[in-house]
């Protein structure tokens, strides 16, 4: 298959090919390296004029949807507005052009940002210490689990098991596995909370950690949290807080005060740094005192009026990444923290709750909202009944949403609710937007009954039509090649 619009097809070896200045000729320069170690394989590379490159990527951008395009109620992803000042500050060359091996004296601004951001996150989470190095949420989980592993190793305990609720995000069990643990799943009760009886059966001195998200992936605040904490802590099982859902309690409550021993944050969710179509993010890990010694890599310290990076002690798990942190991501989230200040954070979580609850109320007469007890910052709609009746799939519903100019909610997650949509509006959406979105969902529900083909054939108003995922997986074409 040839895609005429791919950059490789636009190449024409134009006379304005980009180049860098060299003084000698290619052959003489390459004489510095033995022939056998040289390549001659750049012929696949395009040589396109800058104007055509610009048009190419601008065209691509026009085939993409971001938060700045419109409402992006992707549950569990906290797609809030990404303030432009964050980007402006991070673009300052005095922050951007700094080599990680610069002398400490020359990077006092960088280190102060890291130090102060860490302090702020300590305050926000109620943890005793925060490490900024992980690159994303899953990386934070892994780091947290390494820490727990090291903690028990130091106590000379073998604890091979990690508990995760059946509603957990896939990264939780996967991280446990990558960290060399065995995963045991804890059931949810009928309402979606942790099933305490099941938990009681599964805890033991073999369990290193229970990983929770709170509110959980159904948007429910664990009603028996105190009990869970007690059950675990009685056996020294570490409680892990997956911060993907922190936005619900940001500024309202601190995971560190509710019993969690380890927490990771998703700066690219709760702290408004752009997700960029797949990262880079940052997944700082916070821990309670008893785990501080195990934190990874280096630490920013402030002594004698000077900031510096200090290698952590011998109990440290070691590094989890090259260099210190995803600095510009941390910087952006620190700009966000400084902007909002205590007043901003006092409203943030409440408005995230307001938006989710409001949207939930607008929809609950029409849809089966799986999270009945109480909605926090997101909620899950089950379309099981509708799908059964109409022979449509939840994906048909999701694709039809695209036709109305919105991004779809998260589809088929959490796994414990069948045919579900998970909706998270975040606090940066207006009442007007929520009203319109509710209207459209209700309209689509109507369409599913009166004209199900509309959904089946959707989307039609998008740059391309419904994508054939099966074909993609059956005959994988994973790079472009001219001859095929």
């Amino acid at each position: 298959m040839k895609d005429k619009n791919i950059i490789f097809e636009k190449s024409n070896n134009c006379i304005s090919s980009y180049s860098f200045n060299i003084e000698k000729n290619e052959k003489d320069i390459l004489n510095n390296i033995p022939q056998s170690l040289l390549n001659d394989n750049l012929s696949f590379m395009p040589d396109v004029s800058e104007g055509d490159v610009a048009r190419h990527f601008i065209r691509l951008s026009n085939r993409n949807y971001g938060v700045d395009t419109g409402f992006y109620p992707l549950g569990s992803c906290t797609m809030k507005y990404n303030p432009k000042i964050n980007e402006k500050v991070a673009g300052n060359p005095d922050f951007a052009n700094i080599h990680p091996y610069s002398s400490t004296e020359r990077v006092q601004g960088v280190l102060e940002v890291l130090y102060k951001c860490r302090e702020a996150l300590v305050e926000i989470t109620g943890m005793d210490e925060i490490d900024l190095s992980p690159c994303a949420g899953a990386h934070g989980e892994l780091t947290g689990l390494y820490i727990i592993k090291a903690y028990f190793k130091n106590k000379k305990e073998e604890r091979p098991i990690i508990l995760v609720p059946d509603s957990a995000h896939g990264t939780n069990p996967a991280s446990a596995s990558v960290a060399g643990f065995k995963v045991v799943s804890v059931k949810s009760d009928a309402d979606g909370f942790v099933d305490i009886d099941d938990l009681k059966q599964k805890v033991s001195k073999d369990v290193a950690c229970f990983m929770l998200t709170n509110p959980n992936t159904l948007g429910l605040y664990e009603k028996n949290l105190d009990q869970i904490v007690k059950i675990c802590h009685d056996l020294d099982i570490q409680l892990y807080y997956d911060g993907a859902n922190l936005n619900a309690i940001l500024g309202i409550s601190k995971p560190g005060e509710t019993g969690f021993d380890v927490v990771h944050l998703n700066l690219h969710k709760s702290f408004a740094t752009p997700h960029g179509g797949g990262g880079p993010g940052a997944g700082p890990v916070g821990v309670k005192k008893h785990l501080i010694d195990f934190l990874p890599g280096e630490n920013v310290v402030y002594k004698n009026n000077k900031y510096s990076l200090e290698k952590r002690g011998s109990l440290s798990i070691g590094k989890v990444r090259s260099f210190y942190a995803n600095f510009s991501v941390v910087l952006k989230s620190y700009v966000y923290i400084v902007s909002l200040g205590k007043e901003g954070f006092s409203k943030l979580g409440l408005l995230a709750l307001l938006n989710a609850n409001y949207l939930g109320v607008l929809l609950k007469e029409y849809f089966d909202i799986a999270t009945k007890p109480h909605i926090m910052h997101e909620f899950v709609i089950s379309l099981q009944k509708e799908c059964d009746e109409t022979h449509l799939t939840v994906m048909d519903f999701a694709k039809r949403i695209l036709d109305y100019g919105y991004h779809a909610p998260t589809v088929s997650f959490p796994l414990i609710v069948h045919s579900c949509l998970m909706v998270e509006p975040t606090e940066t959406e207006s009442k007007e937007t929520l009203d319109k979105f509710a209207e459209i969902l209700i309209k689509i529900l109507e369409e599913s009954k009166t004209n199900p083909d509309l959904l089946k054939n959707s989307p039609v108003n998008t740059p391309i039509k419904r994508v054939d995922d099966v074909m993609a997986a059956r005959t994988p074409v994973l790079k472009y090649s001219k001859d095929e």
Partner: protein, 443 residues
């Protein structure tokens, strides 16, 4: 500066629809004892104040006027298109492209990235990015472990030490034993390799260019490893070298991994950078992370989508090939824009400029009485210098002159106590080189 679009009236109306008297009632699922009164943070600031605050912080950094250091973080030119085009909000503020019909921009940019990286490394498959060169190496080793079911890995001593530390962390948790191959910093000793190698290793990790900047010819060991059905993994911490060096694939590697920060990522104090991981076809099902594939839409147009997701955590959970979820996608898009802008000729001449500048620097330093270079070193843009002059003296002088250079290898290798790493790229001017050499000459 806050970003809440609600008016007071909106809030009232919404509360009344929900049936709550005030916002605080929404907190009710949270036990009252856990409700925070107010966070101990500074007060909200206006945008102007925020801007002034961070201008002040930025001014506390004192940038070098000359950077002649690499060591895994390379100072390369970033064409103006990169910020301008990647900065488009549609790329910036999108999530992972779950809804392909409105995400072709990200998807195609990543597909182009995969094509670039797979070809530049001479491999069949690239994933959609890893976090960085260190985690990419760790994930590559996980592939080797899983496909050979061996719990030992042989690693060249001169792999980037940052990566090696990451590898140790990852492997430690999996109880995989890392054996260091105590090789020569300038070339691979095949005889020594033969002595240490055995089929208990899942594979061998070689770095080229290695941390000393040396381009390593490891073709002599490929057959040895292959004979045992074990994997050769090449770690590349300077992706720019792929512009001129024989590809890992052509050298005989099964997996290539490394750092592509050089393709359009600013230095940014070490992150976010761009990990890459590529493999030969047979390892595809073991690849970690996102992969974009070509397919068709219902109109028959060629389009792109995330594919082979059955490897991934959201489907396979604890049985997934990796736990990675968000990767460094925007960095991959930056690399796409970078590579599309410079094109074949630009990438090639950039590589040549790196060789030319660094070898000029090498020649000039070799003329200095008190400094020595390694005659036999084959390098791309980074090389090793030794001297008996005390590090403090050199470092003080360079700092005074605003030059970042002469990274002491002693920090990483006790055996290289008077050795320094030094790097020149296409950014380096002749004046900067001559200036450095003059300063060194005066020591």
């Amino acid at each position: 500066m806050t970003y809440f679009p609600h008016s007071e009236t909106d809030i009232k109306e919404m509360l009344s629809v929900i049936g709550k008297k005030n916002l605080e009632e929404l907190e009710s699922p949270i036990p009252a004892k856990y409700i925070v009164k107010t966070l101990n943070l500074p007060s909200q600031k206006t945008e102007l104040e925020v801007n002034q605050y961070f201008d002040k912080l930025a001014n506390k950094n004192k940038n070098y006027s000359t950077i002649l250091a690499g060591a895994g973080s390379y100072y390369h030119y970033i064409p103006s298109t990169v910020d301008e085009l990647t900065g488009r909000q549609e790329f910036y503020t999108a999530y992972t492209p779950y809804q392909a019909e409105i995400s072709q921009g990200t998807l195609q940019a990543i597909f182009e990235y995969q094509t670039y990286i797979a070809n530049l490394t001479g491999m069949d498959v690239s994933n959609a990015s890893m976090y960085d060169g260190g985690t990419a190496l760790a994930e590559a080793c996980v592939i080797a472990i899983n496909s050979t079911r061996k719990n030992k890995i042989l690693v060249d001593k001169y792999v980037n030490p940052e990566y090696l530390e990451v590898l140790k962390t990852y492997m430690g948790a999996l109880k995989v034993e890392i054996v260091i191959f105590e090789s020569n910093p300038f070339k691979l000793d095949v005889e020594a390799f033969k002595k240490i190698w055995n089929a208990e290793f899942c594979g061998f990790v070689v770095a080229s260019p290695n941390f000393c900047g040396s381009v390593i010819d490891y073709t002599g060991i490929v057959d040895i490893v292959k004979k045992d059905k074990r994997l050769v993994i090449q770690s590349v911490s300077e992706a720019m070298s792929l512009s001129v060096l024989k590809t890992p694939g052509d050298m005989g590697a099964d997996l290539a991994c490394g750092e592509a920060q050089s393709f359009g990522m600013p230095l940014s104090f070490g992150g976010p950078y761009l990990g890459f991981l590529t493999c030969k076809k047979e390892h595809l099902r073991k690849m970690p992370g996102r992969i974009v594939g070509q397919t068709k839409d219902s109109d028959g147009n060629i389009v792109y989508t995330l594919t082979l997701t059955a490897r991934e955590q959201h489907i396979r959970r604890e049985l997934a090939t990796s736990n990675i979820c968000s990767n460094h996608g925007l960095c991959a898009t930056r690399a796409s824009v970078y590579l599309s802008t410079v094109g074949g000729k630009g990438l090639r001449t950039c590589g040549l400029a790196n060789i030319e500048k660094s070898h000029y620097l090498y020649e000039e330093i070799s003329k200095l009485a008190k400094f020595k270079v390694e005659k036999s070193q084959i390098f791309f843009n980074e090389f090793v210098v030794s001297t008996d002059i005390a590090y403090d003296k050199i470092s003080k002088k360079l700092e005074e002159n605003g030059i970042l250079s002469f990274l002491p290898l002693a920090k990483f290798y006790s055996s290289l106590s008077n050795y320094y790493l030094i790097c020149a790229t296409e950014m380096t001017t002749k004046e900067e080189i001559d200036n450095l050499v003059a300063i060194l000459g005066s020591l």
